[in-house]
């Protein structure tokens, strides 16, 4: 057994060193032009990809094991329940332009990041309380960072902090990651070249990354991207739509379903008291029975099977089952059951008269579901819900709006009835959802920025959320989160619809690929990716 293990290890090493010599250019597409090259200001997906490929971080979260691994830091120690962290750094490292790296750069980066005037979501994630951060350089390769209050999930947050150089004349373009930006043509492409100063070596001692360069074409149209993939012009597609996935696999192109992702798609009703909706509609939408009846009348199985061609699972709640640690496994997706839905509605005085459901006052139940125009998947989901709810006498109008108009209705005028959108959950730790679940938060979509919690269950969630954020004990936090998931499942302020699978395409020529359901799905291990010749 031991010998077999050794043999396979040698084989693997042998492979790796073969690929190590191949170099070559990896090509894939970005959906839009990166809005910024400053890693501290990254908000959009394209900039995030550039940050991932070029930025040097203290720790890197392995996208398969979900454990933090040493990167620029060789070791770290968290103390005072998450208020303080001390990093030991690698010695003798250099940026892509040759500028040496030291603990002063980390201090500089953290100070820049936490500057309140910067308004960076990367920085905001560390901001658990008012007050200033103190980054203390202990020696050239040791630094201690003190936060004003404990920060949940502290170590993993450093996965998103690319360390800037305090001294490099190239400023943020000096990279500590495996690649650096060498060329760009606006709206067309970006060329990343191998960073010859990159610190990491493979098991055989060979300098990483294996690739010489990466060419990122700006390609907005996923159909075109799929065509180019089929022709062999690009090697990877990070997110493939179910329709394209089916087509590509029918054409024998290499595609993989990495399993259910952490992203959610949900429907919610507008419960804002000050919204311009008529009072009787507000009464429907704030009724738990009404929301649960709608939820039970939606056939999630059909939705997953038809809209997502089987590449999705009916959703249970806030956290996707693929997030194994945090998911509350006692909960199951709401079953499709129209008679139970009608019973719930009857409890609230709704009556089915002929084909029309009417409330106590005799108002026919009709509402609109808004979603962002141009997203065919969501339009299809809304159209399926339209037909499902017709069965219990509810008339649904599907409205597609351009994204900014929809946002204005959702966040400013509150002039909408129901909405379907999806959330991308980049972080595994649910603490990143504080801004959604706190009743005072702006992103508490169904009724944002409440002065005091509007309902007892929102008050309970508030309490649990604060408790989990303040606790350093993972087991306790998990208990709090289980309860939050339970309440959300019972009250359904968000009616979760499906968890879609992470569908990716990786050309057979790309070696060492190990797609993950977490971003960046296909190239998270970019330094070890290689191209077969």
């Amino acid at each position: 057994m031991k010998r077999l293990y050794l043999l396979s290890a040698m084989l693997l090493l042998g492979f790796v060193s073969v690929f190590a010599q191949t170099g070559g250019e990896l090509r894939f597409c970005l959906r839009s032009e990166p809005k910024t090259f400053n890693p501290l200001l990254v908000e959009d997906e394209s900039s995030e990809a550039i940050r991932y490929l070029t930025g040097g971080v203290l720790v890197r979260v392995n996208r398969l094991t979900l454990k933090a691994e040493p990167a620029l830091a060789t070791s770290w120690k968290v103390s005072e329940g998450g208020k303080r962290i001390r990093f030991k750094l690698r010695e003798g490292l250099k940026y892509s332009d040759g500028t040496p790296f030291s603990a002063a750069d980390v201090a500089y980066t953290m100070e820049q990041l936490m500057d309140p005037a910067l308004h960076s979501s990367t920085g905001d994630a560390f901001r658990s309380a008012e007050g200033k951060l103190a980054a203390q350089v202990i020696s050239a390769n040791e630094i201690e960072i003190n936060f004003p209050a404990p920060v949940a999930n502290l170590v993993n947050l450093f996965d998103t902090v690319a360390i800037l150089s305090a001294k490099s004349p190239q400023k943020e373009m000096a990279a500590l990651g495996p690649f650096f930006v060498s060329e760009r043509k606006a709206g067309s492409y970006l060329l990343l070249k191998r960073n010859s100063y990159y610190w990491k070596k493979d098991a055989a001692g060979k300098q990483l990354p294996y690739l010489d360069s990466i060419r990122l074409d700006i390609e907005q149209n996923p159909e075109v991207e799929a065509l180019r993939y089929k022709r062999g012009e690009v090697h990877l597609i990070n997110t493939v739509s179910p329709a394209i996935f089916e087509k590509l696999s029918a054409d024998n192109a290499s595609v993989r379903d990495a399993g259910a992702s952490t992203d959610t798609e949900q429907l919610w009703f507008n419960q804002v008291p000050g919204s311009p909706l008529p009072a009787y509609k507000k009464a429907w939408f704030t009724s738990t029975n009404f929301r649960r009846a709608v939820s039970e009348a939606i056939n999630r199985g059909d939705m997953a099977r038809i809209v997502f061609r089987g590449h999705a699972i009916p959703a249970t709640g806030i956290i996707s089952p693929s997030n194994k640690f945090w998911f509350n496994s006692d909960l199951k997706p709401h079953p499709y059951d129209t008679s139970s839905a009608l019973r719930r509605l009857q409890q609230d005085g709704f009556q089915l008269q002929g084909d029309t459901l009417r409330d106590k006052a005799g108002n026919a139940v009709e509402f609109s579901i808004a979603t962002n125009a141009g997203n065919r998947t969501r339009e299809s989901m809304a159209t399926m819900i339209q037909q499902d709810l017709k069965r219990i006498g509810i008339k649904v109008n599907v409205v597609t709006l351009d994204f900014n108009s929809l946002l204005e209705r959702m966040t400013q005028s509150y002039n909408y009835e129901a909405c379907i959108l999806g959330f991308q959950n980049v972080e595994l730790d649910p603490n990143s959802q504080m801004a959604v679940w706190l009743s005072s938060a702006d992103n508490h979509q169904w009724n944002p920025s409440q002065k005091s919690p509007a309902t007892p269950w929102e008050a309970e969630i508030d309490k649990l959320m604060r408790a989990q954020a303040a606790s350093g004990d993972e087991r306790k936090r998990k208990q709090y989160w289980d309860r939050v998931q339970q309440i959300a499942w019972e009250q359904e302020p968000f009616i979760y619809l499906v968890n879609k699978d992470a569908l990716v395409a990786i050309a057979p020529a790309v070696k060492n690929a190990a797609p993950s359901v977490f971003r960046p799905q296909t190239f998270w291990n970019v330094e070890t990716l290689a191209l077969a010749q």
């Binding site: 032009e33 809005k35 910024t36 908000e43 309140p116 308004h119 960076s120 979501s121 990367t122 905001d124 994630a125 901001r127 043509k185 606006a186 709206g187 067309s188 700006i218 390609e219 907005q220 149209n221 159909e223 075109v224 065509l227 351009d402 994204f403 900014n404 108009s405 929809l406 946002l407 204005e408 209705r409 966040t411 400013q412 005028s413 959108l421 959330f423 990143s432 959802q433 504080m434 801004a435 959604v436 938060a441 702006d442 992103n443």
Partner: protein, 287 residues
């Protein structure tokens, strides 16, 4: 002549100012002006969210924004794109040439095809030729630009070809109708009855009647070309003005939109001015 040109420049400037101001006003009034997709980013703190909203509202007083814009325009500064974090001047310098080259090609090819088919149909009244030309233009006119652009992408043909094919039927329709009508004028019929050859009839009798409208059509075809090319750029991911304009509209990027409106207006109005001038010159020489 001087009066014509000074009037023309005045008209150009007036339309540019009015169009870009109207565009800015429309964008301001349209919903979503002060929204930002960052508002759904749950990672942002309340303070950061406030800051983003404030930044959006800084341009909300359009007359003031416009006055400031004009003042910096005089200094040669076109402002900075809010959504792309880049000077607008740089964005235009990168993308304008691409669109202009494609536009020129699309128009030249579209006109060549339309004129040759229309003239051929007029000269030799073969039913088959007429049928094919009408069929082709009918098919192309009913084809969605996006679908044609995608087909071209699949075939790896340049998107400017698709634009040319979509410009063609519109020019062809007008030209063919014009030639046909002019061909039925009494004096043309008389000339034909007197035994003048088809080329002679075309050159001496039909063309002079049709020409003024055709020249006007040159100007119009430029606006048609822009109208066709811009959506094709979006579909085919050509890094030109169309893609930029679509982005500006979606992101409600006021500085970018105002400048793009200026550019599009400039091209459109210049085209009509040129056709006006040509027509004027023509009528004068005819008189």
């Amino acid at each position: 002549m001087l009066r014509f040109w000074s009037g023309a420049v005045l008209r150009l400037v007036a339309v540019m100012l009015m169009a870009s101001f109207a565009g800015a006003m429309l964008m301001r009034i349209a919903p979503g002006f002060s929204s930002d997709d960052q508002e759904l980013n749950s990672g942002l703190s309340a303070q950061s969210m406030q800051a983003i909203r404030r930044a959006h509202l800084s341009d909300s007083n359009v007359p003031r924004f416009y006055a400031q814009y004009l003042a910096s325009l005089v200094r040669g500064d076109l402002g900075t794109s809010r959504s792309l974090n880049q000077p607008v001047k740089e964005l235009l310098r990168e993308r304008l040439p691409i669109t202009l080259v494609n536009l020129t090609f699309a128009l030249a090819a579209g006109w060549l095809l339309a004129l040759s088919l229309a003239v051929a149909a007029q000269m030799w009244k073969f039913p088959a030729l007429n049928f094919i030309a009408n069929g082709l233009s009918g098919t192309l006119i009913s084809t969605p630009a996006a679908a044609l652009a995608l087909v071209f992408l699949m075939l790896r043909w340049p998107p400017a070809f698709a634009a040319a094919l979509l410009v063609f039927p519109k020019i062809y329709r007008y030209t063919q109708n014009l030639l046909q009508q002019s061909g039925e004028m009494p004096h043309v019929l008389t000339a034909r009855a007197k035994g003048a050859g088809p080329w002679r009839v075309l050159a001496w009798h039909v063309a002079p009647i049709a020409l003024p409208q055709m020249i006007a059509l040159v100007g119009v075809s430029i606006s048609i070309g822009i109208g066709v090319l811009l959506p094709i750029e979006v579909v085919s991911d050509v890094a030109g003005i169309g893609q930029l304009a679509w982005h500006a509209a979606q992101a409600r990027d006021l500085p970018l939109l105002v400048n793009l409106t200026m550019v599009v207006t400039f091209v459109t109005v210049c085209a009509t001015l040129i056709s006006d001038a040509a027509q004027r010159g023509f009528t004068r020489s005819a008189a």
